[in-house]
Symmetry: C2
Subunit: 188 residues, 2 copies
Amino acid sequence: MASNQKIYLSGPEVFLPDAPAIGQRKKFLCEEFGFVGLYPLDHDLADMPGEAEDQKIFAANVATMREADAGIFNLTPFRGVNADPGVAFELGFFAALGKPVFAYTNDSAPLFDRVAAAHGVHGAPDGEFCDAHGLLIENFGNADNLMLDGAVKSQRRRVIRPDMTLPGCGDLTGFIACLRQAKVHFGF
Amino acid sequence: MASNQKIYLSGPEVFLPDAPAIGQRKKFLCEEFGFVGLYPLDHDLADMPGEAEDQKIFAANVATMREADAGIFNLTPFRGVNADPGVAFELGFFAALGKPVFAYTNDSAPLFDRVAAAHGVHGAPDGEFCDAHGLLIENFGNADNLMLDGAVKSQRRRVIRPDMTLPGCGDLTGFIACLRQAKVHFGF
């Protein structure tokens, strides 16, 4: 059974060399689950407002997010310990609109462990933990910043973290788990 | 003249050891410019929904963002080449609601230069640029991911990038410039 619900596909894979192929696979999987996948790279930028290419892409992404009924967010860390800020922006965009959000990461470690490994960790006098630069490290067991996990948790779900031996942002195991959640959410 | 417009104060300084003092300074500056500053760390979490502390903080931040008339976002890179994902999330939240957004960064270099310095750069066959891992590097001259700069540009402003000799996320030069922009925006 198909729902024709549209799902926005947000993730750092748009920066991978095989970005179009990953988008194809994601859209195919959406169809398998009865959804329509909306992939950022599929825009026709010709009709978009703005003169510069980045402003056209921004306008197209915003229009697609407003069109979508839900979003699936790939929070796999990108160039560091955190999710891609573009993905974080888009998750916030959906949260503000009250649309259903589903998220996964291909790095199953909590943010705390990643920061400790990359930036050091020591106890602070107040019982909190800081990195080597004295910056507080969130210690809630979350996949990323509490605003990102919080958007998912506030909808009574969790960020899906499949156990990967080789974390990379292109694997779709967590994406499929999100599609299952979406199917449950939309009740078909 | 005061406007009583409320400005949400988003930035990675909440993770600094002197976070409360920076919040005090930001709120004082807001008042100087005729605004009321809303700082995330000022929440009383007692009345917030959710059992866990992170969910209470999330709920409080969301409620405060909905209450605010505008937001000022500190996009200074945090633990890497990009803005803090919590700040990116919040910028997306405001963008979705169509509220005025003002942003600054204390690292005046474009994202492209930061990524090239930290992750390498080489030309790709299609004329684009990739880092050492083959990941595309955005090359629009923006301060960060195009969605972040795009939210500001779509409101006909730019991310403010004061020239700092020692970039650190606590300096308030850019913040003050954002307050000036906000004063112009609200017309008083």
